[in-house]
Point group: C2
Chain length 416, copies 2
C-alpha cells in the first residue's frame, strides 16, 4: 500500500511547515526583486516539443519529460520510429528557453530594457539522488535589452540583497568573462572547433583537479602532442589567480578584464573575486559569468551570465541579455521562518458537546484579533495535540466548553 500513495519518483510533497518555509522564502526573494524594479512574469509549464529540443538547452534537452500528443492511434504508435514523434509538448527544463520565447512573443508590450523575474518549477528526468529532484523551483532574474554593465550591476546587487534578506550573510561572487576564457584557450593552441569541448573539460577543474583537466585537454585534436605537465602547472596557477596576480598577463583579454574591473568598482559592497577558471556549464554564455558562493557551503548558491546571442534565435534579431538564477532548493534549507509569524496564531480546543454554530461565532470573534485561528477537537491525548500545534507554528490556545458563550470568556495559554 505504501508505495501506491507516495509522490512520483524523484518528486516531493510539501507538508504545511515546509510549504510555509518555501512560501516565506519565495516571498522575501519576490519582494527584493520587485524593490529593484524587476517585473514578474509567468509562462506555461510546457513548451512546444520542437522548441525544447532546438539546441538551446544543452544536455538538459535529453532530460526533458515529453508530453504525448492527444488522439494517438495504434497506427500512429506502429508508424513511429522514435518516441519524440509522438510528443507535441514537453515540461520545461529551465526558465531561459521559455523567457526567450516569451520575449520574442511580447516584445512590443514590454519596456525597452526588460527586467524579468521568474519563480517557477522546472523538470528534469535525472537519476534521483540526495538533494537532486525531478521537479524543483528556479528563481531567475534576467535583464533583456541592456548592452552595458549596468545590467550586471543590477543583477549582482539584487541577488546579494535577496540573500542578505534571507539571512544568508558572508557570500562572495566569483566572476569571469567567456572572452577571457576563449582568449586563454587560444594561447594554449585550442582551435575554435575544439573550444566548446575544452570549456566542458576546464569546467571539471573542481572535480578532477589540474592534472585531470590537463590530461583530458591534450586529448583534443588541436592539442595533440602538447605537454600535459606544462598545462597542469598553468591550470594550478590559474586556480589561485586573483585581481592583482593576473594584471598584465599575456593571456588576459584586456578589454574584457577592464569591464570586470569596472564592475568591481561599481560594486564596492560586494566581495567580487576574479576566477579565470570559472566556466559555468551552458554553451550560450557570451560574456560575463558569475557564481555566488559561501565559505561554509561546498556548492554555489546561484549563478548566471551574459548570453547576448540567444534571444535572437527566437526573435531573428539579437538582444543583449544577462541572467542570474538562485539555487532555490539549496537556499530554502538555510532559511528559518521568523518567530513573529507564529506569535499571533492561536488554537481553540473545543469539547464534543459544543454547538458548531456557537463555535463558528466564537472563532469569528477571535479572528478579529489574531492572524491565524484553528479549531481543534479535544482529545484524550492532549500532549500530542498541543505538540502538533507547536509544530504548526501556533503560539497559544484556549479551551471552549458548552458553557463558553463568547470570545470574552476565553482564557488563552501560551504553547511551548
Amino acid at each position: 500500500m505504501a508505495t501506491l500513495v507516495t509522490a512520483p519518483r524523484g518528486m516531493r510533497d510539501f507538508l504545511p511547515a515546509e510549504k510555509a518555509r518555501r512560501e516565506h522564502t519565495l516571498g522575501v526573494i519576490r519582494g527584493v526583486y520587485a524593490h529593484h524594479g524587476f517585473d514578474e512574469i509567468e509562462t506555461p509549464v510546457v513548451e512546444d516539443s520542437s522548441r525544447l529540443h532546438a539546441g538551446l538547452g544543452g544536455d538538459n534537452e535529453k532530460l526533458a519529460f515529453a508530453v504525448m500528443r492527444r488522439g494517438i492511434t495504434t497506427e500512429d504508435l506502429h508508424a513511429a520510429t522514435a518516441p519524440l514523434e509522438l510528443a507535441d509538448l514537453g515540461l520545461r527544463f529551465d526558465l531561459t528557453v521559455p523567457l526567450a520565447r516569451f520575449y520574442a512573443s511580447h516584445r512590443a508590450e514590454l519596456p525597452t530594457v526588460f527586467r524579468a523575474v521568474q519563480i517557477a518549477p522546472v523538470w528534469r528526468a535525472e537519476r534521483p539522488q540526495k538533494g537532486r529532484y525531478r521537479q524543483f523551483v528556479q528563481c531567475d532574474i534576467d535583464v533583456l535589452g541592456e548592452p552595458g554593465r549596468l545590467a550586471e550591476i543590477e543583477l549582482v546587487q539584487a541577488t546579494g540583497e535577496a540573500l542578505a534578506a534571507l539571512g544568508v550573510q558572508g557570500t562572495f561572487v566569483r566572476i569571469n568573462d567567456r572572452r577571457i576564457l576563449t582568449a586563454l584557450l587560444g594561447t594554449w593552441g585550442v582551435s575554435d572547433a575544439d573550444a566548446p569541448h575544452a570549456l566542458v573539460i576546464v569546467d571539471k577543474l573542481d572535480k578532477i583537479g589540474a592534472a585531470g583537466v590537463a590530461g583530458e585537454l591534450v586529448g583534443l585534436p588541436s592539442l595533440t602532442g602538447r605537454d600535459a605537465a606544462g598545462l597542469q602547472d598553468t591550470l594550478t596557477a590559474l586556480a589561485t589567480a586573483d585581481w592583482d596576480s593576473v594584471t598584465g598577463a599575456e593571456w588576459l583579454d584586456a578589454a574584457a578584464f577592464a569591464d570586470l574591473l569596472s564592475l568591481r568598482e561599481a560594486l564596492p559592497d560586494v566581495d567580487l573575486r576574479f576566477d579565470p577558471t570559472l566556466v559555468r556549464g551552458m554553451g550560450y554564455y557570451t560574456g560575463t559569468i558569475f557564481e555566488v558562493a559561501h565559505p561554509d557551503y561546498a556548492y554555489s548558491l546561484g549563478g548566471g551570465g551574459r548570453y547576448d546571442g540567444m534571444i535572437g534565435r527566437f526573435l531573428g534579431q539579437d538582444v543583449p541579455a544577462v541572467g542570474f538564477s538562485l539555487g532555490f532548493e539549496r537556499l530554502v534549507d538555510l532559511v528559518t521562518i521568523p518567530d513573529a509569524q507564529t506569535t499571533d496564531a492561536v488554537a481553540l480546543v473545543f469539547d464534543r458537546d459544543v454547538d458548531p454554530a456557537v463555535l463558528a461565532t466564537i472563532k469569528r470573534e477571535v479572528m478579529v484579533d489574531h492572524a491565524r485561528v484553528r479549531l481543534e477537537r479535544r482529545t484524550k491525548n492532549m500532549k500530542n495535540l498541543l505538540a502538533g500545534l507547536v509544530a504548526g507554528g501556533y503560539g497559544s490556545f484556549a479551551s471552549v466548553s458548552a458553557d463558553t458563550a463568547s470570545a470574552t470568556d476565553l482564557d488563552f495559554k501560551p504553547l511551548t
Copy 2:
C-alpha cells in the same frame, strides 16, 4: 515567425501587470485561508498515470495530458496497443486526486482534522475556447477528518470572506445534499443503476431547461413509459423551490434537509439558498453540495461538497471529507489591484552619459524610501516611456543627469 513564439495552444503567458494581479489575488486568498486555520500544502504537478486513471476523476480523466516513460525504444513503440501504455506519469487534472493521495501518504504527520489549502495549476486537454484554458489555477480548501457540519461551516465562512476580501460583494450560496437528490430520483422511479446517469441529466437543467431534462430522463431504462410532461412540471416547480416551499414535501429526505437547516442557522451572515436541483458534476459527492454565485454573473464563482468515500480509495479506510474550489480564472478578472501598491513605485530616467556606478549608488539610495525603483534610459519618445511606467504601476519619476551626485539632487514628478 509569429506562431513559432506563442505559448502552446490553449495556454497563456502572463505579462507583468496580469501576473501582479494574479499574485495579488492569490495573496489575498492565501491570507484569508491562513486566517481561518487552513494549512497550505503542495504536491508535484504530475501523478502516476495509473492513479490519474483510477476512476476518481470522472470525465476529466479523458482530458489528462500523458507524460511519456523515459527510455522508450522503437520496439516498445511497435509493441504498444494503446498510447497510455507508453506513459508512466500524467499532468494532474484537479487537486482532489493528489490531495487524497497526499493524505493517505502523510496522515500520521497531519492533524486529526486537517484543513488543507492547495493553490496550484491543473491541466486539461479541452478544446480551447474563450475563458477556458488548458492550464489554469485552482484554489481548493478541504477539511479532512471532520464528520460534522463544522467542516461545511468553516468552508463556507472562509470562502465568503475570501470573496469579500477581494472586493466581490453580494454573493449567495446555492446548497443541496446528494441524499436529497437520490431520494428525489427514487420517488420518480429511477433505479440505483440509472441514478448516476440521471444526475448527469438533471445537471443540465440550466442549459436545456425542464422540458429537455424530462425528455432525456424518460429515455432511462427504469423510467421507460413515464410521462415526460409530468416530470417537466415537477422539474419546473423544483427549479424555483426554496427553504419554505419544500417544507414537508413528500420527496424531501428529512434528515438531510435538517442538516441543511442547521447549516443555515449557523451561517446567519451568508445568503444561503436551498436548490433541490443543484447537482455539481463529480460522481464522488456523498452529502452536502454547494455553489457560490453572484447575481451579476451567469457562471458560478466556485463550489464544492462532501465526498466521504474518496480518501478511503487510497487509504483503505474511510475519512470524512468536504472540499471547496474557487473558480480562480474567473475571479481574477473581477479583482482590481489597490492604488496603494503603485504610489511608492518610482522610476529614475537617466541620460546616456551617466556613469553606471554612480547610477547604481543613486538607485540604492532611492530604494531606502521606496518600494519599487526602476531605472529607465532616457529616449527621444519620452511620452511612450512615461506611459509604459504608468501601465507598469509606477507613481512618479526623476531625471538623473551626469551632474546628479546623489539622491538628494533628485526632483520627483508624479506620473498619472
